[in-house]
């Protein structure tokens, strides 16, 4: 037990206990004994002590002896605040961050896989405890070995146990709730199993009970609708959990009658997602037909959000915000109705404005400005018309001041609107190249919604007041334990070879866990948490790469010139490695900063990455503050664009399309690599902005 926790127990004046009611009573007694207004510090200390031990108590199984449940030694645990149970995050997007990667956390006991969907609060913090004690047998084989398949199911139908297992636990989509059809099927399977067990004697009855409990527990909360019938059949409903129960039954009994919030896959959301973020990753505007379809889908989604209860509608809101932000500018036509439905503009400029919504609010203002400036009465209308027309010569009778004002205003407030301007005319008005040679005249403005950082931020909790990640694990169904590779089992981080491997890969051969821990306890905890959860060494190595990538990227805004250059070279290495694998991989790195599993950096590049990681770890730069904004933008000067055109051999139109967010994967890839190279060689003032933000 850490010193802080021990002090907390002392403050409350009781011995460690997992009994939350006893903790509250102790707090109440202490509170009544004091005058809070006279002893403000004492009151905060008491509150903090209570919150800390309650958080701790919530992690404990109710009936375990204290000695067994005390958390292991570790300084991080003093801040072990309760994980929030607020379901959050963009459902389909998390997968893109690299599945199962834990970003950061104060204590890996509370960290978990980023759940692909807002899951049931009922699958709370105590569940991983159960997961640790799971039998490690392959469930299906174990059941099937001594049961005659013929008795279990009619020959023309799949076996009920196989089918149920598949429905609850196999394949993609098991993180969602059961659809209505699936539920009916699953209920039929459960009924069939119970009926067969009933006919089959005590042994089969017992085995069925155990198998079903195990399967339902693993499939929780997806399995929630099936719990009632099983509980009735096996008599779980009429009694409290006892020590004689199997862990699965003990897990299920308290959940009887609860209705966890599980997302069901909604066709409208799915279709909208696919429409806005098609596989190929390009961001061409929606066609008219697509837009019409998207609007209809959106109506359905919004109607659903309206009908749903607050967590769910909030989850839909967050999901929509992230999807619209990611799909920007493709999603532009949908922004207005969504913003209106959720009253996003009331959040503008607030301390707690969610980053994706901040990004969208800024775009919304841009859209509004574009609309208004079309109006002849608008003071900048003439300037707008001038800059958006074709041609290459400055127009007459256009006040210079207004044009200046428009260009400056757009660049400051709505950088993405510059794409509407005729670059040649902008250059002419700015006095560059005098409107003659187009080549050196134009610049590109690139606006990026920082999707990758969002995923990192969401781990900090949606609320800045909460330091700890607000993510809880489902009942560990995602990582089926296989013999010999028990992911959840305890391991010693100092001697564990798998952990050592991943540290070597991240920091080079000389780095040990204690060293990393000493330099950055949070990072060490995050790596350890991933080790705990990811059984497959390949997955783990990938997780290490993702963690490092995100830390590197988050460090960019704070990096000095030398470090910035090193980071840019590292990113170039990563893009080149991806390019060698194929244009799609390259695009994945560009959009999501994810070097897919199995794609390797070259030996030399890996060495450079490790050296950089070591240097940044030593300098404390791997724990950058969370990004403060959602969008970034930078300007690329004309001559640099010229360089890019020469280096890639592409046309000016193709290059400019890439900066507007379009283009085929290989084009995007070529332009982006050329941009990094050009920026590294560039001497002008734009260099830093590009290196920080590309």
């Amino acid at each position: 037990m850490s010193g802080a926790l021990r002090a907390a127990w002392r403050r409350l004046g009781i011995d460690p206990t997992a009994d939350q009611a006893a903790i509250r009573r102790a707090y109440a007694d202490a509170l009544r004994a004091m005058d809070v207004d006279a002893d403000v510090a004492g009151f905060s200390a008491l509150r903090e002590a209570r919150d800390a031990v309650l958080a701790w108590a919530r992690q404990q199984p109710a009936d375990a002896p204290i000695a067994e449940v005390l958390p292991e030694q570790g300084p991080a645990e003093a801040d072990a605040f309760v994980p929030g149970t607020w379901p959050h995050a963009a459902p389909r997007l998390d997968g893109l961050a690299g599945d199962g990667v834990v970003q950061a956390g104060t204590d890996d006991r509370h960290d978990a896989l980023v759940p692909p969907l807002p899951l049931a609060p009922a699958s709370g913090p105590s569940d991983p405890q159960f997961a640790l004690r799971q039998p490690t047998l392959g469930v299906v084989e174990w059941f099937a070995s001594d049961v005659d398949p013929v008795r279990l199911a009619r020959p023309e139908q799949p076996r009920a146990d196989h089918a149920l297992h598949a429905l609850l636990l196999e394949g993609p989509g098991t993180e969602f709730g059961l659809s209505e059809d699936e539920r009916a099927d699953a209920q039929a399977h459960v009924a069939a199993l119970i009926a067969q067990a009933d006919a089959g004697g005590v042994d089969l009855w017992g085995r069925t009970e155990e198998w079903l409990a195990e399967t339902l527990a693993r499939g929780w909360p997806r399995s929630a609708p099936l719990l009632d019938s099983a509980a009735q059949a096996f008599g779980w409903a009429d009694r409290p959990a006892t020590t004689g129960d199997s862990p699965a039954v003990a897990f299920l009994i308290p959940r009887l009658g609860t209705q966890p919030l599980v997302r069901t896959v909604r066709p409208a959301e799915d279709a909208l997602f696919v429409l806005l973020l098609p596989e190929t990753g390009h961001k061409a505007p929606l066609t008219d037909a697509q837009e019409e379809e998207a609007r209809q889908l959106l109506d359905t989604v919004l109607a659903e959000a309206h009908e749903e209860q607050v967590e769910r509608s909030n989850a839909i809101e967050t999901w929509l915000a992230e999807v619209l932000a990611q799909a920007w500018p493709r999603s532009a036509p949908l922004l207005e109705p969504v913003a209106q439905a959720f009253n996003w503009e009331s959040e503008r400029g607030q301390l707690h404005e969610r980053p994706a919504i901040a990004f969208l609010n800024a775009r919304l203002r841009g859209l509004r400005f574009t609309e208004k400036v079309q109006d002849k009465g608008h003071p900048l209308h003439k300037a707008w018309v001038e800059l958006t027309r074709d041609g290459s010569r400055k127009g007459l009778f256009v006040p210079k001041r207004q044009v200046r004002q428009l260009i400056d205003g757009v660049r400051t407030n709505f950088p993405e609107l510059e794409q509407h301007f005729n670059p040649v005319l902008v250059a002419a008005w700015e006095g560059q190249g005098g409107g003659l040679g187009a080549k050196f005249g134009w610049i590109a403005i690139v606006v990026i919604g920082v999707i990758r950082m969002i995923i990192a931020i969401s781990d900090y909790g949606q609320n800045h007041q909460v330091g700890a990640p607000a993510v809880t694990a489902p009942y560990e169904a995602g990582a089926p334990a296989t013999p010999g590779q028990s992911a959840g089992a305890d391991f010693d981080p100092v001697t564990d070879p798998t952990l050592a491997d991943v540290l070597h890969q991240m920091f080079g051969p000389a780095m040990t866990y204690p060293q990393v821990y000493k330099a950055d306890a949070k990072l060490a905890a995050a790596i350890k948490a991933n080790r705990r959860m990811l059984a497959d060494p390949g997955e783990l190595a990938h997780a290490g790469q993702v963690v490092l990538t995100q830390r590197f990227l988050q460090a960019r805004p704070h990096a000095g010139p030398a470090r910035l250059e090193a980071l840019a070279r590292w990113r170039l290495d990563m893009m080149l490695a991806a390019k060698a694998d194929g244009p799609e991989t390259c695009l994945s790195v560009y959009h999501w900063d994810d070097l897919p599993k199995g794609v390797q950096l070259t030996e030399a590049a890996l060495g450079r990455q490790q050296a950089l990681a070591r240097a940044m770890l030593a300098a404390g730069e791997l724990d950058p503050p969370p990004p403060s904004g959602y969008s970034r933008s930078y300007r690329i000067p004309g001559p640099m664009i010229d360089q890019i055109i020469r280096a890639t051999g592409l046309s000016q139109a193709a290059v400019s399309a890439v900066f507007d967010g379009h283009g085929a994967p290989n084009t995007v890839c070529a332009v982006q690599t050329a941009l990094i190279k050009a920026a590294l060689g560039w001497k002008g003032p734009e260099r830093t902005a590009i290196l920080r933000n590309f």
Binding site: V36, P121, V310
Partner: protein
């Protein structure tokens, strides 16, 4: 004796702790709720409560309602030839409640606990406190309305409560609080709200929605705009209440002898209220998120505030929480009862010693700061939170700042409350300046400490460790001290107002009601009401108790039968 007062937007109520339970005190009309309305008769007499409300749409425009919305502002509210601030009008209501208690107990109370919406800002709280003082009540504590309601709910059902949510939609404000009760502790986990949303807005929305249909010829446009508005709002209120019980009701009013009427369905009300219903969601989400509690772990959703009676609101609540709300507490009485319980607690009444309340500060408090951006430009007016919203109070927090320029001579802080990143979007509570020793930029440290006590009093200390210099502002104190003389002058001015004697309140209310009905009716009925009024006034002039009592009973009966006939 510490009385508990619910000073509401639409209605106010007063309650007492009688040593065993909290009891509401009825007003002169025998009602538990006194409308928060003030009116001035042509002869200069001031009316408070039901009588004033009846005069709301009178032609002289000498009635003010819903003035709580302007608490803490300098807005001048006109009553006949005089102008008042919202706190002065509130003081008149408080004084009338005080007199009701005096009439029942025989002793004039001097101390009170007054409730305020949880989301009331510092200025609004201070205005409320001053209103109490203007009414001659020493305000022992301001407590948050949902907290008071939670107290009433919790003590009524005794025992432990898992976190529950108090959903308080009143006439003009909306509050959400998440409260937990255990071992004699009432703990507010988080509060959020919208201090510009309430039943009045539903009236407004309904009036807007039907106006063109109701009055295609624009008759209302010819009336004085304020009077037209009052007529519409009054009719909307009646229709809205009627729609609580049935699917369709008539929206009717009489303007200058012309009766305008149209039928309104519940569905239409719902459509008109849609944007308002949507605004209920945000505070709920914020409170849940701040307290890290999800709807599934809430044990109850407790409804408080008259507007929660509306079926459309209940429907929206059921949708938000996925369950039916709890309506065991009386939505109009709970807050006053809770305030009385709090009064009992302060007075350390025997039956209550066990209970302790801990509340939160529902908004963020901080100072402005400047900072250089990447290009070296100074950006000022940025808000630095020091006490984050929903921090348990009392709390004391310190933040450190540095000087920005070489040889800077002084540092200025504005003190702000709100959730916007730039202080321009927040409420300024005060300012403070302190000299600093001339040193290179960044070398002088400035400590700013915010202390917020359990009555919502904010104290700011600024210290320069290098010189030991310090400044202290207790915001409430300073403002009060500044206008102590002014306060006294206003108190005397209010006392000089001719207020109808309490025993006549019932008659005045009856008379006002008769006059309203006269306005509402036409033809023969109107003429008959005119006769009744004359007869009643004659009876009043006799000053004979028995005659007056008889006449008043007659008139009340006649008006009742008339109201029942009204095709509303």
């Amino acid at each position: 004796m510490i009385i508990g007062i619910d000073l509401g937007t639409t209605n106010s109520a007063v309650a007492l702790w009688d040593g065993d339970a909290a009891q509401l005190v009825p007003n002169a009309l025998g009602q538990m709720l006194t409308p928060s309305a003030v009116s001035v008769l042509p002869d200069g007499t001031t009316l408070v409560g039901q009588a004033a409300l009846e005069r709301m749409a009178a032609k002289d425009g000498a009635t003010q309602v819903s003035f709580k919305r302007f608490m803490g502002t300098d807005r001048k509210l006109k009553l006949a030839r005089q102008t008042f601030t919202a706190e002065e009008l509130s003081a008149l209501v408080l004084a009338s409640l005080r007199d009701d208690v005096a009439a029942q107990t025989g002793a004039v109370p001097t101390e009170a606990v007054i409730t305020v919406p949880a989301y009331f800002n510092d200025k609004q709280r201070k205005a409320t406190r001053r209103a109490g003082e203007l009414a001659g009540l020493s305000v022992r504590r301001l407590i948050n309305e949902p907290t008071a309601a939670a107290l009433a709910f919790g003590l009524a059902s005794r025992g432990e409560h898992e976190p529950f949510l108090v959903f308080d939609l009143g006439g003009g404000t909306f509050d959400v609080s998440i409260v937990e009760m255990f071992a004699g502790i009432v703990e507010v986990r988080a509060s959020a709200g919208d201090n510009r949303l309430g039943g009045d807005d539903f009236n407004e929305a309904l009036a807007q929605a039907v106006r063109t249909r109701l009055d295609p010829e624009g008759l209302l446009d010819k009336a004085h705009p304020e009077r037209a508005r009052a007529l519409l709002l009054q009719a909307a209120e009646r229709t809205r209440r009627a729609l609580s019980d049935k699917g369709e009701a008539e929206f009717a009013l009489t303007v200058d002898g012309v009766r305008l009427a149209t039928a309104v369905t519940a569905a239409e009300l719902e459509a008109a209220a849609e944007p308002l219903l949507r605004r209920l969601r945000d505070p709920v989400v914020r409170a849940l998120r701040d307290s890290q509690i999800d709807t599934a772990s809430l044990s109850e959703v407790v409804l408080v505030g008259g507007a929660t009676r509306m079926p459309v609101v209940r429907k929206a609540i059921t949708r938000l929480f996925g369950r039916f709300p709890n309506s065991t507490v009386h939505p109009d009485h709970a807050v006053a009862l809770g305030a009385a319980i709090q009064g009992g607690l302060i007075a350390r009444d025997g039956g209550l010693e066990e209970v302790r309340i801990t509340d939160v500060c529902p908004f963020t408090l901080g100072v402005d700061r400047s900072e250089r951006d990447a290009r070296g430009n100074v950006m000022s007016g940025l808000f630095t939170p020091i006490i984050e919203r929903n921090t348990p109070v009392p709390v004391s927090r310190v933040h450190y700042f540095q000087t920005m320029a070489d040889n800077q001579r002084r540092v200025e802080f504005g003190i702000f409350q709100g959730e916007a990143r730039e202080v321009s979007g927040n409420v300024k509570l005060g300012a403070l300046e302190i000299p600093v020793p001339p040193r290179p930029a960044g070398e002088v440290q400035v400590d700013v400490r915010f202390s917020y006590d359990s009555s919502g009093l904010l104290e700011v200390d600024v210290t320069i460790p290098a010189t030991g210099e310090s400044r202290n502002v207790v915001l409430a104190d300073e403002e009060d001290r500044k206008d102590e003389a002014e306060l006294d002058r206003r108190r005397r001015a209010l006392a000089a107002l001719k207020v109808h004697p309490r025993e006549e309140a019932a008659n005045q209310a009856l008379l006002a009601r008769a006059e309203r009905l006269w306005e509402d009716h036409l033809g023969d009925v109107r003429e008959a009401i005119g006769h009744w009024i004359l007869a009643f006034q004659g009876a009043l002039e006799t000053q004979d108790h028995r005659v007056i009592a008889q006449a008043s009973a007659d008139l009340a009966m006649r008006l009742d039968s008339l109201d029942a006939e009204m095709p509303l």
